[in-house]
Amino acid sequence: MKESLMDILCDPLDKSDLELEVDERDGEEIIEGRLIGTVTGEVYPIEDGIPNLLPPDMRDEE
């Protein structure tokens, strides 16, 4: 995901803001990292450039 996407993402649980933590980036593109709910504390992983913003109870299905 591009870092600019942060402007339009929110925590799916309560629509509050997310904080970005980056492990790996390629220019503007965030490849690995996580998004953290500033209110809920929920952690949403970013893997292979795809943030997984499913609520925790829907997240495990493959």
């Binding site: 995901m1 591009k2 996407l5 402007d7 339009i8 993402l9 929110c10 925590d11 799916p12 629509k15 390629d26 220019g27 503007e28 593109e29 292979d48 450039g49 795809i50 943030p51 997984n52 913003l53 499913l54 609520p55 829907m58 299905e61 493959e62």
Partner: protein, 228 residues
Amino acid sequence: MTERTARDLAARRGVETNVYQPAEDSGLLADAIEKRGRGRLLEVGTGSGWVAARAAREVPDVSSVVASDLSPHACRAARRRAVEGGPEEAGVSDSTGDRTEPDGSGSLFDVVRANLVSPFADDAFDTVAFNPPYLPTDPENEWDDWMERALSGGESGQELIDPFLEAVGRVLAPGGVGLLLVSSLTGYDAVLDRVDACGFDHEVVVEESYPFESLSVLALTATGGSSQ
């Protein structure tokens, strides 16, 4: 399209059958985006990402594209397409596709794994497009895998359409437009009733008839608001 033709099509193309591949309905939604899409666009339930890629690459009024899907398989397929380029079915040279980052570090569009519009901020999008899973499915015949979830709209065919209509207004910017694909198999009038109840005016942007169904894409605008 029917589930049978979807599977036949996938088998014929020798592709994995857990991600919905572009078909007539995809083409129709892309045509509607060409006519009405603008600004920042979200495609909900992007599947293979084909529609999102066409929007990002070929619609000048669309400035950026986000594609979302519930399925991890669809998200990975869409992400590959976002990074590698556009709708390869086009079979034409790349002269219009210069919006891809040349060094491969960027992508044509962003992919987010999401349930409908739930992780997107209020007023975030000028256009939200959705080709929902719409086939009415007998609960006893649901086969419960990712392809089933890409096709089945539950017993009524409307299981994903209702929550979409209830939620999409929140993420549409003032004057924004929703583009919803509706099949006669779902029941056109039933969907229109819901559209109305959720506070949208509608107009038909494109429509097409096939032997077993007719497909339309509706432009939805907030009742009393203006779309352009």
